[in-house]
Amino acid sequence: MSAEPTDIVTSAFAGLPCEVGRGRGVIATEREGLAIARIAARRGRKGTVAQVLRANFDIEPPDGPRRASGGEVALAGIAPETWLATREGAGNGFAQSLRPLLGHCASIADLSDAYAILRLTGPDVRATLAKLVPIDVHALTFGVNVLAQTVCGYMSVMLWRLEDSAQWGPTFEIWVGRSLAVSLHEALCQGAAEFGFVREPPCGPAHDGRRMA
């Protein structure tokens, strides 16, 4: 059984405006297809988890709110002895694939569908974030690969800083629970409108993008 493919929406931001205001002060891109697995070390097994991750992915699990990557896999520390592992385009099978490696020393939960994620860049991204999150995102205090679990307009979010974009400058990713995607998008549009907000493709038929005056 299957429905008409054109009816199906997978984007959390489907139907939302792709442009607000004038200019490209903030450019957002939805991250789709990212596999996400939550890895929580079993009681007293943090060392083993770190060993397995080093051996298999050549990553040292960060001991704090930071992100470390090795190839296509990245690890972000989100709580004591707990990380989010991500892999580009790996789907729900990624979490499953970790179980044979880590099942004896960690609890694995698939969260690939749990988040709506926007990558934000542009010359005014920091000025926009200043309106949205109550933390200091200055380059000197919020370094590359640092992440914060914070609030954005009364929504719990994770904010990561990535390497600056050569073209657009500072770059961040903001993660929110999928059910809050529309509210986050509205907050972003409000905050970035004065600088000009653009959400880059995917804005195709399943995303139904439109311009808001």
């Binding site: 079993r42 200091d136 307009g153």
Partner: protein
């Protein structure tokens, strides 16, 4: 057109005219003007009427401390009352109106109150409206409320937007005068992150108002150069039109940026105002000083203005306050006003100084200019019907001299602006040297400099400001070299305190905004209100929108004199935030209307929209309430959806239920401790209903627990308690039993979950899942659960039911939700599947007697809910001990029952209270209440659940459901709470 406009540029741009109206009359000003300076230039002296006596009032100050010149700004939806004309930046098309007058500003009938002045003294309300007591609520209070208040707020929705923002810095400089600029420059040049805030639209503070020299250049020009340099520094931000209004814990400050208040209306996507939360490692308080008036007869008449403000109007705005402007002072600063007026070719008929001696430099400058000096003299009365026309001056020998003047510059000295120094508990201390309070008890991260610290010299302000800036930079790790001190021109800053003129004639005012007089203070003192705090409240001194900026010090000094104490012994003057009024809109920011709070959408929201669903906000979520077809009313839809499920199959998005993944070697043992019933015995592949108690024995939450592997459980929680349950479990895991190997993961957002319910649900799922899972009754019995791949992605299936029918819940990864719901509808098309919403869900759970939020209301025990048998006696768990308290086990506690109306056409209402037939509705006769009601499509009449004292033993009894709110009393029969399929045969079919 503008008779009081002087030659020269000042800080206005004379090449452009701005048109504006005041009380409907057209005027022109220039960019750089305030409404006050432009009206003053046009010769307008009276701008307002006072609050209590409706006395004509003019402009007293040139800043945010203004108590008199309050106007209604703009019109229609943007009308804003009580706006200070002295801070309104002029724009083309500005509309302003006077307020608190009728029928006009010139002829105000409210001025009759002045005749009642002997009655309307401090404590008038308290003494007058005591009798008869019954009059208070119906007569006195409505009358007083009608008479109170200033200005009229617009009753239309605010068309503008507001937003909030956060900023962080090494140094926050509050105030852009010479001290603040010097501090910001020193720290900024060193590379520190600096924010400088100034409430004015031009940085420089008094440098724009006074004729000073710094390093050989004009002071205002120096300020402009420094501001430009600060703006060019990469880590320094100059925020003009921004008032730091409050200091809060954690080195946090609130600031209001007036982004668009100087424009006719905000530009596209521009807010009107922006509320900043600024976190600063160090703070330099360079908020300057506020000039204080002198209390003498007629000191409130239009034309009486503070001397420093006069210099601001003359030098910055190139406006004279009047044709003949006298000066009254007791300090050196007042003389500068006289000199500036004379140098601007404004006639000064008299320089009146209460001191008998003045510095020789002042005397020689005055003599050189030919100024008429009256030393040891006081003004007893400033008179004139619509404003000052003359002054009665008593000289040192007691002779009264009449001085003709249409304006009077007054200064009693300057009070350091200590407001922000006291927000965090600092208590300003009295300084005999400055005759004022100065900041004291500041936190280690704040330092006051310049006039704010009581140092009124320009040289001192620049020196201390720069030192504070350097220190802040060093504290942040930046080396700031010591600069050569800036050269400034000489100045005299001496003076004596002159609070009031004892033998004043005519009415004198201490607090202009609340019309508080020395007589009011005397009454308060006489009646025993000796504490400054009590005195303030009894007289309302300092309680207007200006918060006593020009009145608190004079009131304090007068109270000290009246009670025979020194000013220092009367306490201090502390302030609370906000420093100036902050609009509620700014505090709300973007969170208004549909954006009041974030809203969680269910995974099938867009599909539900496409089906024409009616939505309802339930807690954090927006859920489909029902799926009406055509012109159906709610009841028809409800009946169709419920019967569609009961007789066929329906589908409902139940993703909002909380889902928590529990793993670990001790997961089973952990769950045994948090649930009242045993979980560890649950076989893999099965689910079980469970209840959690709070520590106090009250039911906390309920839901199902499914076991997918020996060490892997998935819990469901109620929608409302999803977050709290996770918090509770994390507390238990991390704090109570850290030795257990348990890991929790919130997975609510990961899984979209659809209830497929009804006798045809198995047929639908078989068609949907194909060979992905065997869901025959034998392979997948009631309370079975399984995880399997479906359409290339994981899926979970639970055979659980909230509706009372054969039912399943299918969970798919959330990104698959849209495809899944469409697939379910397609698979069920031939089975006439109906989508159903929250309304039908609720109706069916009430029919089945399932408890939900209205029953799990934080006061009910498991026994109250009929779930006492679930409380295990074989193990310990949270809440076990306290659940056995006598009060919670009393046999007459209200317990869960069902009710149905005796007249089946009657409507039941939740919240109605149970009474025995014929009993009077009283607390003593109250036997319980109705918690949930619904029209039952299955039974064809209303039914309800409720809690009735000893309820389960009273099945069949007839009682009354009394609802005083709606006046609806219904005779009901007590029934079992399970109205439908009490044996559960349908669940297991």
């Amino acid at each position: 057109m503008n008779p009081n406009r002087l030659d020269g540029e000042g800080a206005i741009r004379r090449d452009r005219n701005l048109a504006f109206t005041f009380d409907g009359k057209r005027y022109t000003g220039h960019p750089g003007d305030t409404l006050a300076s432009a009206l003053l230039a046009a010769g307008v002296r009276t701008l307002a009427r006072s609050f209590k006596y409706h006395r004509p009032r003019g402009i007293l100050t040139a800043g945010s401390e203004e108590p008199n010149a309050l106007v209604e700004l703009r019109s229609g939806a943007r009308r804003e009352p009580n706006t200070r004309a002295t801070v309104i930046e002029l724009f083309d098309g500005l509309e302003a109106r006077s307020q608190n007058r009728w029928p006009s500003l010139g002829l105000d009938l409210g001025a009759v109150n002045s005749l009642l002045a002997p009655l309307l003294v401090a404590g008038f309300y308290y003494k007058t409206f005591m009798w008869p007591a019954a009059f208070w609520e119906k007569v006195y209070e409505p009358l007083i409320r009608r008479a109170a208040g200033l200005g009229r707020a617009s009753l239309e929705p605010d068309p503008d937007t507001y937003e909030k923002a956060h900023a962080f810095c090494d140094l926050l400089v509050i105030g852009g005068g010479p001290a603040g600029l010097a501090a910001a420059l020193a720290a900024g040049r060193a590379g520190a992150r600096v924010i400088l805030c100034d409430e004015d639209f031009l940085a420089g503070g008094r440098l724009n108002a006074d004729r000073r020299e710094i390093d050989g250049q004009d002071g205002a020009l120096w300020a402009r150069h420094v501001t430009d340099e600060l703006a060019s520094l990469p880590e320094t931000r100059v925020m003009l039109r921004t008032t730091v209004f409050g200091a809060y814990d954690g080195n946090t400050f609130g600031a209001l940026e007036r982004v668009s208040d100087h424009l006719r209306e905000p530009g596209p996507h521009q807010p009107r105002q922006r509320l900043w939360k600024i976190v600063a490692r160090r703070t330099v308080l360079a908020a300057g000083a506020l000039e204080r008036p002198i209390v003498f007869g007629g000191n409130d008449r239009p034309g009486v203005m503070l001397a420093g403000a006069v210099r601001t109007y003359v030098n910055r705005f190139r406006v004279r306050p009047g044709g003949r402007t006298a000066v009254f002072t007791a300090c050196d600063d007042g003389w500068k006003t006289a000199f500036d007026l004379l140098d601007a070719h404004v006639e000064v008929p008299a320089m009146i100084d209460a001191r008998r001696e003045i510095p020789a430099t002042l005397a020689s400058q005055a003599t050189r200019r030919g100024l008429r000096i009256m030393l040891g003299a006081h003004i007893r009365d400033a008179h004139g019907a619509r404003g000052v026309s003359g002054l009665d001056v008593r000289d040192e020998r007691g002779r009264i001299t009449h001085v003709a003047a249409d304006a009077l510059a007054v200064t009693g000295g300057w009070n350091p602006n200590t407001a922000l120094s006291s927000h965090l508990g600092g208590r300003p201390r009295w300084s005999e040297a400055t005759h004022a309070f100065v900041p004291a008890g500041l936190s280690g991260s704040m330092i006051a400099v310049g006039a704010a610290a009581g140092d009124f010299s320009l040289a001192g302000a620049l020196r201390c400001g720069a030192a504070a800036g350097r220190e802040a930079a060093r504290a942040a790790g930046f080396e700031a070299p010591v600069q050569t001190p800036l050269r400034v021109d000489d100045e005299a800053v001496g003076g004596t305190a002159l609070w009031f003129v004892a033998d004043s004639r005519g009415k004198a005012f201490v607090d202009f905004q609340h019309d508080v007089t020395p007589q009011d203070l005397a009454i308060a003192a006489r009646e025993g209100f000796h504490s400054a705090e009590l005195l303030k409240r009894y007289t309302t001194l300092g309680m207007g929108t200006d918060q006593g900026k020009t009145s608190a010090m004079n009131g304090h000094a007068l109270a000290a004199i009246l009670t025979g104490r020194a000013a220092a012994d009367l306490g201090t003057i502390a302030a609370r935030p906000p420093y100036t009024p902050v609009a509620i809109g700014a505090l709300a920011g973007t969170h208004r209307g549909p954006h009041f709070r974030p809203c969680r959408l269910t995974p099938s929201h867009r599909w539900a929209q496409s089906r024409g669903a009616a939505f309802i906000d339930a807690g954090d979520w927006r859920r489909a309430r029902a799926f009406p077809i055509g012109g159906e009313d709610w009841k028809r839809t409800l009946v169709r959806e419920v019967l569609g499920v009961r007789n066929g199959v329906g589908v409902c998005d139940v993703s909002t239920l909380g889902k928590i993944d529990v793993q670990g070697a001790d997961a089973g043992a952990f769950l045994d401790r948090v649930y009242a019933n045993v979980i560890s015995s649950l076989p893999v592949g099965k689910a079980r209903y469970g209840i959690m108690l709070r520590e106090d024995g009250i039911v906390f939450d309920d839901g199902t627990v499914a076991r997918f592997a020996a060490n892997h459980f998935v819990l469901s929680t109620t929608t409302a308690h999803a977050g709290k349950v996770l918090q509770h479990l994390e507390h238990a895991r991390q704090v109570l039993w850290p030795e257990l190997d348990v890991e929790l993961a919130p997975v609510t957002e990961q899984w979209a979950q659809f209830a497929v319910a009804g006798p045809r649900s198995r047929a639908l799922l078989e068609a949907l899942l194909g060979g992905a899972a065997d869901i025959s009754h034998a392979a997948f019995p009631y309370l079975a659960c399984a995880e399997f791949p479906w359409q290339g992605r994981p899926a979970r299936l639970f055979r659980i039911s909230f509706s009372g029918e054969l039912a399943y819940e299918l969970a798919v990864p959330a990104r698959n939700a849209d495809a899944a719901i469409r697939s379910i509808m397609a698979a069920g098309e031939s089975l006439a599947v109906v989508p159903y919403g929250l309304e039908a869900l609720g109706a069916m759970r009430i029919e089945k007697g399932h408890v939900a939020g209205a029953e799990l209301n934080g006061t009910t025990t498991a026994r109250d809910l009929g779930l006492g048998r679930m409380m295990s006696a074989q193990k310990d768990y949270i809440g076990r001990v306290l659940a056995d308290r006598p009060g919670l086990t009393a046999p007459d506690r209200p317990a869960l029952i069902g009710v149905k109306p005796l007249r089946l056409e009657a409507t039941l209402r939740a919240g109605a209270h149970f009474l025995r037939p014929g009993a009077q509705p009283s607390l003593g006769n109250d036997e319980g209440f109705v918690s949930s009601v619904t029209f039952s499509p299955t039974l064809g009449h209303w039914i309800g659940l409720g809690f009735l004292s000893a309820g389960p033993a009273r099945i069949g009894e007839r009682i009354a459901a009394h609802d005083p709110l709606s006046g609806n009393d219904v005779a009901v029969e007590v029934t079992s709470p399970v109205f439908y399929d009490p044996d559960g045969a349908r669940l297991r079919s």
